[in-house]
């Protein structure tokens, strides 16, 4: 049949266009600026991100318009995802610029390329958030992942960095294959790749039947597996600790958030919106994955000495918590909290987790290692940094009144609204376990005496980023109302 070209509504994709523009600007800057002095490009990137963030205001998201034949959708869900990833991007740039320029890593790390890659992966994540079609999800995820593969191996003179990148890359490619195979089967069993149509088709198929036909089920499971890999759910998490540990610290910070956000966005789009009618089938799977994930992550984190690796496991644990929100989804009676809590958690997670990695970066700048001992006596050496780290740790632990607590609270609320009290109990038990290793960092900072040499250094941008994140972690909890409302709007986005 003939394809008639429609004139796309460029207005809706302004934020993405700005990102693309920024990328070009960065490439140009790379050409004109001399190799040894490229600090300015960080500002270019920041400007681009902020502009893109600001441009979100120009769009009426509640209308839920779409363009490119509904492939790209500007609805409240995509708005929230955009906000999260852009904020994450800003924070990532803030904490990484000085790290990338200074010689923390053997071998030089060209600033502009680094930023370009970051921008690309953000662009990918934004695409996933706005996806109205499996194709866009695939493209977005791949765009993000490919960029992050490179970033992981960005310290190319350090073997561990390469190793992390290699593992991440091979497993990632493998998982993408599974994912896209799942998409193929969806397409095969519904005849479309557009998510709303999929949900109609599936609804039609499921009408009357109790159990889905095998092809559809296979498709569903393949998709679930593929995306579970992206969000690092057990047992598809294996790459996470190695990649996080190997990657340059700011990259770990970044990759612990944005790809995860993209993954969850895809999960929500595909499972909740597209395969909503199948929810009875996949809810249990998600719930079980959630429990396994949160316990594995938190328990194994206890026996880690390397803080980056510990945070990697902790991020696996948090994946478990977030999955609980997804598991609270229900097709017939929309539980606002379910996807809402997922989104809010991602938002909260952005601040506290990037913050935690940022403190590690901050320490590396001052000649410290990344193991637990390098935190000894930080409370005396730099009370404010220690305070920030304390805030992040307790927030990750889920101690009120920090934002992490609110996030966890909403997840628990969602679980209980979905009458899954056992899931809520699991969450708090896992948090109790997690307290052990988060607390260990605080103990090291305040109760142990400082050791090792200390290279004072000024890192204004990093410090500024730390301050933003600490303040955000403290304040955004109290004023989580608006954010939560925004997150709750997913309901009108996925017309469930």
């Amino acid at each position: 049949m003939p394809l008639e070209l429609v004139h796309p509504e460029w207005g809706l994709i302004v934020p993405l266009l700005i990102m693309v523009g920024t990328i070009f600007a960065l490439l140009v800057a790379d050409l004109i600026l001399p190799r040894d002095n490229q600090g300015a490009v960080a500002w270019v990137a920041l400007a681009g991100l902020v502009a893109s963030l600001a441009s979100l205001l120009t769009i009426d998201w509640t209308a839920g318009e779409s363009t490119f034949n509904g492939m790209f959708r500007a609805d409240s869900f995509s708005l929230f995802i955009n906000i999260v990833v852009l904020v994450a991007g800003i924070l990532a740039v803030l904490i990484s610029s000085s790290y990338v320029q200074s010689l923390q890593e053997r071998g030089t790390m060209p600033m502009p390329e680094y930023l370009v890659l970051v921008m690309f992966s953000i662009l990918g994540a934004m695409l996933v958030g706005a996806a109205g079609d499996l194709l866009i999800i695939f493209i977005g995820i791949e765009m993000g992942s490919l960029a992050v593969y490179v970033l992981t191996g960005f310290a190319r003179r350090r073997m561990t960095s390469i190793e992390g990148a290699l593992k991440y890359f091979l497993l990632g490619a493998f998982a993408s294959a599974i994912l896209v195979f799942g998409m193929a089967w969806i397409y095969g069993s519904t005849g479309t790749t557009s998510i709303p149509e999929i949900s109609q088709q599936v609804g039609a198929i499921m009408a009357g039947e109790q159990l889905p036909e095998p092809a559809l089920l296979l498709a569903l499971l393949l998709l679930a597996v593929g995306l579970a890999f992206k969000i690092a759910a057990v047992p598809f998490h294996m790459w996470t600790p190695d990649a996080y540990q190997g990657a340059p610290t700011p990259v770990s910070a970044y990759m612990s958030v944005v790809p995860k956000v993209a993954g969850f966005a895809a999960l929500a789009r595909v499972l909740a919106e597209g395969l909503g009618p199948l929810s009875e089938t996949w809810l249990l799977l998600i719930a079980i994955l959630a429990i396994i994930t949160m316990f594995y992550g938190n328990v194994v984190a206890i026996s880690q000495r390397d803080v980056k690796r510990m945070l990697a496991y902790s991020s696996i644990g948090h994946t478990g918590y977030i999955l609980v929100g997804l598991a609270a989804f229900s097709e017939d009676v929309p539980i606002e909290m379910s996807i809402g809590s997922v989104l809010f958690y991602l938002f909260a997670y952005t601040f506290m987790n990037i913050g935690a990695f940022a403190v590690v970066t901050w320490l590396q700048h001052r000649g410290q290692g990344v193991d637990l001992d390098s935190f000894n006596g930080l409370g005396v050496r730099s009370p404010l940094t220690a305070l920030a780290m304390t805030v992040f740790m307790f927030s990750l632990m889920g101690v009120p009144p920090l934002i992490g607590f609110y996030a966890k609270y909403y997840v628990i609320l969602a679980a209980i609204e979905a009458e899954m009290i056992w899931l809520a109990v699991a969450v708090v038990l896992a948090s109790a376990v997690s307290a052990v290793f988060y607390l260990r960092v605080v103990v090291a900072m305040y109760f142990n005496d400082a050791e090792g040499e200390w290279r004072p250094q000024t890192t204004p941008m990093l410090g500024f980023g730390l301050m933003i994140m600490a303040v955000g972690t403290i304040a955004l909890g109290f004023f989580s109302g608006p954010v939560l409302d925004l997150a709750m709007n997913w309901v009108d986005a996925f017309d469930v």
């Binding site: 194709l135 073997m159 294959a177 599974i178 095969g188």
Partner: protein, 102 residues
């Protein structure tokens, strides 16, 4: 007597996919593993094409095109990483790459 049925496409792609998967599972050479991944993607392409043919749509074929493009990009990055690896350590055997563990 035997005209082309959608099932043929599916079984072919499934077979290829599984072959690729097994390859990834069994081989130790980075390059071979990578090739197997590419094989899996090809299998996916076949099934897309097959379905598109069945529904006589373009969607699946477009999808396949995109997959090919992305596979190409993946190949570039993958080979880049592998080069960096070989530069650091003269091997393509993944079992020798296990500094990060536990």
């Amino acid at each position: 007597m035997n005209e082309l049925m959608p099932e043929h496409f599916m079984f072919l792609s499934a077979a290829l996919f599984i072959i690729g998967m097994v390859g990834v599972l069994t081989r130790r050479n980075v390059l071979v593993i990578f090739m197997c991944v590419e094989l899996m993607l090809t299998a996916v392409n076949i099934s897309f094409i097959g379905f598109a043919w069945e529904f006589s749509q373009l969607t699946g074929q477009i999808f396949a095109l995109f997959i090919i493009a992305i596979a190409a990009a993946e190949a570039v990055i993958g080979l880049g990483i592998i080069m960096a690896l070989t530069r650091q350590r003269d091997t393509v055997d993944i079992d020798e790459v296990r500094e990060l563990r536990q």
